[in-house]
């Protein structure tokens, strides 16, 4: 994951210094579960420590109570997520990046048809983020 953060730095994305508190994380996790979505994977929370809500070119990674409110992971899932075992982590013009808690994998899902376009294993978060974020 650090390699991917490094790539983003090299591409001009400045990491945040104080992205969120532990309390924010707990509250967001509770809120997600209350709304019927799974917990966020720990590795993803690790990424948010560097980039909590990040806009790429026609793409974004969502965040926990981020500065840019349209990238709020809870609001975004409330609008776009009708499943109960997946949580949306990011998007581009073509697909959503979701984490499937049951299968423990990451998927690129066609935004318009719900088709699975790509899948990444449980340890494939850096590849999944690399695929969804166009920098």
């Amino acid at each position: 994951m650090m390699d991917f953060v490094q790539i983003l730095k090299e591409n001009g994305y400045i990491p945040q210094n104080t992205p969120f508190t532990k309390k924010d994380v707990i509250e967001s996790q509770k809120e997600l579960v209350k709304k019927g979505y799974p917990f966020l994977p720990l590795e993803f929370i690790g990424f948010l420590k560097s980039y909590n809500g990040l806009r790429g070119e026609d793409s974004a990674v969502l965040g926990i109570a981020p500065k840019d409110k349209s990238l709020d992971i809870i609001v975004f899932n409330e609008i776009h997520n009708e499943s109960d075992d997946m949580v949306i982590l990011g998007y581009d013009e073509f697909c959503f990046l979701v984490y499937d808690e049951q299968q423990k994998d990451y998927l690129l899902v066609d935004r318009e048809t719900g088709d699975e376009l790509e899948s990444f294993s449980a340890d494939g978060l850096p590849e999944a983020l690399n695929s969804i974020l166009h920098y």
Partner: protein, 510 residues
């Protein structure tokens, strides 16, 4: 009866007043409910909402419009006020590989396949031939891309046709058997592009577009033709003029529009900028004179030299605080990655940060999943089918209906929003004066369109031909013996088997 009637009227009146009061209380808490509850003036209510609330109003109306004809009319009116209408799904669904190809063309990049997954993702033919070069280097003419069923799917797009020579050069250089072209799957081609364009093995996202990408070209052309009007529209929203000038300049020069990477510069000299420039002139002179300077790439050297000339000129002109910064100096600083010299700041000295300002996204006016209804799927990535939209409107409003559903569900895409004016090219709000039209093609066929249409093919036909090619190769190499009929049968059975296997897997995981 009269007494009973008046009691009833009074009770009804009180209930009505109570309901009204309750609704107004709800509106204070959730402003979008004004659009739902009010029978008059709801368009103004809608215009006064935040984008997020306008999205909720749309979502609620769309839900109730299914059973309520009045709400259906209200929905149409509200959407029309935003220049939009509901459009039903049209045409065949695309195969996922076609969607991925449109995506590659749009972004100009391809993701590397992880080493451990190559066996699963790539065909055995490709893996075998790419790792077993011939002894003698084949001639260029032996690589006939037109006979490759999978390449036909890529060559529908101009960006891929442009790189055919690069792929051919890679195959020749590595002495790869020319037969490979007829056997490669679309996924194999993605990998070949990665192998041909990667700068090193660590690169994860490979840029293959040697020219400007289709989306950047669209934004650049739009800003070059309508930049002043776009700037006026943004300024009317009360945005900082330095942000507006920097954003339009970035669009105008590079076709880029992501505020997270925007360097916001001052428009007028400040005492801070003037003193920074004085220091920078000396520092740059030392840098250019140093031995390390000669080790830089020519392009980088030229950019730094241009910046040095611009800074020296500005210092010689003895500008005062408040004077307009020459655009050539701003451009030279941005090009040389030294935009920080002119960084725009608030009065307390804090720099303006791009992420605090609106960002933009390019929207496909013709839904990608409906590209099958176009004459050629490549048309979906044409400038006339793009619209530059403020990112929050794009995600929270226009794409409001996009949903993640339960895994394994069949395609269920039913409707989407479409612009009433098909030439809408820029949208920064829901009011009529916050969107702009521009006709990119003025109804003329472009050279690119003519070429794209020449390469029009059907996905199913290409995949059928690929299966036949692979079977013929097997036969030639005595692996299996099939006649042509059996080849086709095998292909059909393979698809049926694959589908059945997928279904059983899904059922099993549930």
């Amino acid at each position: 009866m009269a007494r009973r009637g008046s009691e009833y009227r009074r009770k009804h009146f009180v209930e009505k007043i109570d309901k009204k009061a309750q609704e107004e209380r709800e509106i204070v808490e959730k402003p979008y409910k004004a659009v739902l509850y009010h029978d008059e003036g709801y368009i103004d209510d809608f215009y006064n909402l935040s984008i997020e609330d306008a999205g909720w109003a749309y979502q609620q109306l769309a839900k109730s419009a299914k059973d309520d004809s009045e709400d259906a009319c209200k929905l149409d009116e509200v959407l029309a006020a935003a220049g939009l209408k509901v459009a039903e799904h049209d045409g065949r669904f695309l195969h996922k590989q076609e969607v991925l190809t449109i995506r590659m063309d749009f972004y100009g990049t391809i993701d590397r396949i992880k080493d451990g997954l190559r066996e699963r993702e790539l065909s055995s033919y490709y893996r075998h031939l790419i790792t077993n070069p011939l002894k003698k280097r084949p001639k260029s003419v032996q690589y006939d891309f037109e006979t490759s069923p999978s390449w036909k799917l890529f060559s529908r797009f101009q960006s891929f046709r442009r790189i055919e020579k690069n792929l051919r050069a890679y195959l020749i250089k590595n002495k790869i058997d020319p037969q490979i072209l007829g056997l490669m799957t679309p996924r194999d081609f993605s990998d070949l592009v990665v192998q041909s364009f990667q700068k090193d093995d660590n690169e994860q996202k490979i840029t293959f577009e040697t020219d400007i990408t289709v989306r950047n070209e669209f934004v650049r052309d739009l800003a070059q033709k309508q930049g002043d009007q776009m700037a006026d529209m943004l300024l009317k929203q009360g945005l900082d003029e330095r942000y507006v000038a920097s954003m339009i300049n970035m669009m105008h020069r590079y076709g880029k529009y992501n505020s997270a990477k925007l360097v916001i510069t001052e428009k007028n000299f400040t005492s801070r900028v003037l003193s920074e420039l004085k220091k920078a002139e000396k520092a740059l002179f030392a840098e250019i004179s140093a031995e390390e300077f000669s080790k830089l790439k020519t392009e980088e050297r030229n950019k730094l030299k241009t910046l040095f000339v611009e800074i020296s000129r500005a210092n010689a002109q003895k500008f005062k605080a408040g004077d307009v910064i020459p655009q050539t100096l701003i451009d030279a600083a941005i090009d040389a990655d030294r935009g920080k010299l002119l960084l725009a700041r608030y009065e307390d000295g804090t720099p303006l940060n791009g992420i605090d300002f609106p960002s933009f996204e390019v929207h496909h006016k013709h839904a990608v999943s409906d590209a099958g209804s176009l004459r050629n799927v490549a048309h979906v990535n044409y400038k006339k089918n793009f619209c530059l939209v403020r990112a929050d409107i794009h995600t929270l409003f226009i794409h409001r209906c996009d949903k993640v559903r339960q895994r394994g569900q069949t395609k269920s895409y039913a409707k989407r929003l479409e612009f009433v004016d098909p030439n809408t090219a820029f949208m920064i709000g829901l009011r009529p004066d916050e969107r702009m039209s521009f006709d990119f093609e003025k109804s003329k066929r472009t050279k690119r369109q003519t070429l794209d249409d020449r390469y029009n093919v059907s996905y199913e036909e290409c995949m059928r031909q690929l299966a036949l090619n692979q079977a013929a190769y097997d036969r030639e190499h005595n692996k299996k013996a099939f006649d042509a009929k059996e080849d086709l049968q095998r292909y059909k059975s393979f698809r049926r088997l694959k589908k059945a296997h997928k279904m059983s897997l899904k059922a099993h995981t549930r």
